[in-house]
């Protein structure tokens, strides 16, 4: 089962993980990633951040990513919770939790989901700094991170 949520509210990682692996004794590993708001980005002090998304497409994109991860690591499960709206430094932004029989699959699935989310899911961050408001630029390193999962990739991560 795939679980995907986009919400303004904060999340509690313990509650989320407990729900994800409830009643499934086949799970032997849980990997979690939490993205948080930094107070410094590219030399500027970040006072606040606004997260915009594309309602309707976002959920579909996240479902598709989670589905790909489940296909790639059979028996694994994926939870994605992504926040939108106004966030402050220290706030949690995103949670990706993956379960599997063994740790290798759980770690890989978690990294896979984040690498795809960074480049495929329609979210945009706008930072408020002492110099005003600015949309965050996408990073080429994120595209490279996603590309390492391609079957033809020489690095072959997760292959």
């Amino acid at each position: 089962m795939t679980r995907v949520r986009v919400q303004e509210a904060d999340f509690d990682i313990s509650t989320e993980v407990a729900a994800l692996r409830a009643d499934n004794p086949k799970v032997g590993a849980v990997a979690c990633f939490v993205g948080t708001v930094r107070d410094l980005n590219e030399g500027n002090t970040v006072q606040a951040m606004e997260l915009e998304h594309y309602p309707g497409m976002t959920e579909k994109a996240l479902e598709a990513i989670a589905g790909q991860a489940r296909d790639r690591w059979p028996g694994s499960d994926v939870l994605i919770v992504h926040r939108v709206g106004k966030l402050l430094p220290l706030d949690q932004i995103v949670l990706v939790a993956t379960t599997a029989v063994h740790r290798g699959e759980a770690f890989e699935s978690c990294a896979f989901v984040m690498d795809y989310l960074k480049t495929q899911a329609p979210f945009w961050k706008k930072e408020k700094t002492e110099h005003g408001e600015k949309w965050v630029d996408a990073r080429e390193s994120d595209d490279a991170a996603r590309a390492r999962w391609d079957p033809e990739s020489k690095k072959g991560a997760g292959a």
């Binding site: 993205g35 497409m57 994109a61 329609p122 945009w124 706008k126 630029d137 996408a138």
Partner: protein, 85 residues
């Protein structure tokens, strides 16, 4: 053909519009054609949707390349490269 346009983030701000229903002229058959047709409005449209600009496109909630054929009533979105996570 009718198309529902959606714009997000920096693109939405530059154009000053979030969504718009348009009737596209004959010959506008793909997502890339829609982008080119919108550029003919000039001003911010020509600049923001210019060929060299790094833009992402979606059709009916799926990320797509410019060659994707549009259909009557479809939703076409233009936005900057995504920055979530």
């Amino acid at each position: 053909m009718k198309v529902e346009l959606r714009f997000f983030a920096g693109v939405r701000e530059a154009l000053g519009v979030a969504n718009e229903s348009v009737e596209v002229p004959d010959g506008v058959a793909s997502v890339g054609d829609v982008r080119a047709w919108l550029r003919t409005r000039g001003g911010a449209w020509a600049e923001t949707l210019a060929e060299g600009r790094s833009l992402r496109m979606a059709c009916n909630h799926e990320m797509t390349d410019p060659s994707r054929r549009i259909t009557d009533g479809c939703e076409v979105a233009f936005f900057p490269p995504v920055t979530g996570g």
